[in-house]
């Protein structure tokens, strides 16, 4: 067994493909490991998934722990957690990163509880640094700084786990950049044998109905999002018109989702999707940090809000103080006129 310290990444997959978030985290783990001289280890549970292990190595892992078993063909909490808990107890990783997906958020707390270690949800940044713990008058070196918005989003907290291992964190898809695959990278694929216990099969999946994601917010070049300032389905339809005109997608803040104007899969922000479109139009979104954390990397931001003090204005390139229900039609009109002018000119 190796003495080298390690950063683990939980590798999720569907339909024979490694999830983007797992590769993004493998890339981030590579960065952190470079600073620390640690090994990057992917934990891959599945059945007939060895090819995916290669993919994980190409994206930055030094080693993949591969648990291949028919009972692991699909994600289930207890069998997957069993593999992670057994191997983590044995190998003692320093850091364990998990995608903030529905399955990742089901898996991570179960594992953290069994290992009695700290877990921070939905980090928006991860760094390495030191921490002085007054209670013990001790400085802990090279801890994982788990950075996330807190207290209603008015603050950004840096969380550390000084005394327990692994230091666990979940990160949503799109928060970390996808590393480029490097076909020349080599690594070790190490088979591990699951040591299931009878209770691990207390739950059986009777059926799965997969709804293929129609929402591709992450890749949309333009996103038109609505928030609390959008108060009716008719007003939301205007945003859809504008998005269609711009070849983009509609998005939403949590307020619009909670108001039932649009499905949760359209939510942009820390607990939704992180996006970096060419143009982001925030219509009636005040701009809580959880929302801004998911869109402030957009190339251009237009904010429309009746409240001139809305925080969204402070990250916007174009500030329009006004009612979105009136302003959005003006933008639509301006775009239509341009396309008519263009046609006339041709």
């Amino acid at each position: 067994m190796t003495e080298q310290q390690s950063i683990w990444v939980f590798i999720e997959h569907t339909d024979g493909q490694v999830a983007d978030v797992s590769l993004e985290l493998t890339g981030k783990a590579r960065d952190l490991a470079g600073q620390l001289g640690y090994e990057v280890v992917g934990l891959l549970c599945g059945h007939g998934v060895e090819e995916m292990a290669r993919d994980v190595i190409r994206h930055g892992a030094d080693r993949v722990l591969l648990a291949d078993h028919p009972e692991l063909a699909y994600y289930r909490t207890l069998p997957y957690a069993r593999v992670a808990i057994t191997e983590a107890r044995r190998r003692r990783p320093e850091i364990f990163l998990v995608g903030g997906t529905p399955n990742g958020r089901d898996f991570a707390p179960r594992v953290a509880s069994a290992l009695r270690c700290g877990l921070t949800a939905d980090c928006t940044d991860l760094q390495i640094g030191d921490y002085y713990l007054r209670r013990q008058d001790a400085t802990f070196r090279n801890l994982l700084y788990q950075i996330r918005p807190a207290f209603g989003g008015n603050l950004v907290a840096t969380i550390v786990n000084p005394t327990t291992r692994p230091q666990m964190a979940t990160v949503r898809e799109g928060v970390m950049r996808m590393p480029a695959a490097d076909a020349s990278r080599t690594g070790v694929v190490e088979a591990v044998t699951p040591e299931f216990e009878p209770g691990d099969f207390a739950l059986e999946v009777l059926s799965r109905q997969v709804r293929h994601a129609t929402v591709k917010l992450k890749d949309a070049p333009v996103i038109v999002s609505g928030g609390a300032g959008i108060t009716s389905a008719e007003e939301f339809a205007l945003l859809r018109d504008l998005a269609n005109l711009l070849g983009g997608e509609v998005g939403a803040s949590r307020a619009a989702v909670d108001a039932g104007l649009i499905g949760r899969e359209f939510q942009v922000g820390q607990t939704g999707t992180t996006v970096r479109p060419r143009l982001y139009i925030a219509a009636g979104i005040s701009g809580a940090i959880q929302h801004r954390a998911g869109m402030d990397q957009s190339s251009k931001i237009i904010a429309i809000n009746t409240d001139p003090n809305a925080p969204m204005f402070q990250v916007a390139h174009y500030r329009i103080v006004g009612d979105a229900a009136e302003v959005v039609p003006m933008i639509i009109e301006a775009l239509r006129e341009r396309s008519m002018d263009q046609r006339a000119a041709e």
């Binding site: 907290a157 949590r254 402070q314």
Partner: protein, 301 residues
Amino acid sequence: MTDSRPIDSVVLAKQVPDTHNITGDAMTKDGTMNRNALSAIFNPEDLNALEMAVQIRERHGGTVTVITMGPPKAAGILREALWRGADRVILLTDRRFAGADTLATSLVLQKAIEKIGRYDLVLAGRQAIDGDTAQVGPQTAEKLGIPQITYAEAVLEIADGRITAQRALDSGTEIVRCEMPCLLTVVGSANTPRPPSVRRQIAGKLAATPGEYAALRAKWPEFETDAALEAHLDAHGLRIPVWTADDIGASAEAIGLAGSPTQVHKINFVVLESTESKTVPPTPEAIAAMVAELVHEYIVG
């Protein structure tokens, strides 16, 4: 109908600041939070969990017990739970619980559930709106040594010691069957929580923890002593029990700040990056000019 026996449920609830209704007033000028601008509410998805438990009782019989860990004023949501259909409520409060992260919280909940003893189901909201971690449910299940069904949207059947439930995932839905006891985390789309019943509100108006007797007696001077009030409450099942760390057998080093592996290293006020920005008046001309600029920069078109 199924032939199943009565089902005893424990619902985990949390009192949270109403972060959904944060307005401009919630932020003070120096960037700190104006807590007074936020009211304390029953965490929304915990209401969905309570509603699911009440519906299970209506169908199968059994009991619904609601517990919450929090400061003394969290008794407020326990009264609300009684008005919305709970049979029994328990407040877990102790100064030593303060500062708990999700791991330390789940330990307190585990100990309290084990003290309650018999249960078939534990139900909790998927996540609380003040932290959005969704961790306490699975962590409590792990400590109890029972399986978990996260993102539960519907209970399809309870029979032969097993529950069949539908899970709502981003990628679709899943139907699972699980041995009981087990823990469910419930999503907001599961149901529409019933409003507090007027009849229950009248009957349960006086429900209180011992810590609230003084305030209650100020309003109801006919109870001349705490003992008189307590006798009345006990006779009507309205005393909200309070359990401390000692009552549930939780050791001091495993709870609160001391039992929390996560520590806050630092807190930064949010400093918004100043971007080069233009104010565009809401007029057709100004907006047309903005669109022209975006086209010129190849952002649009």
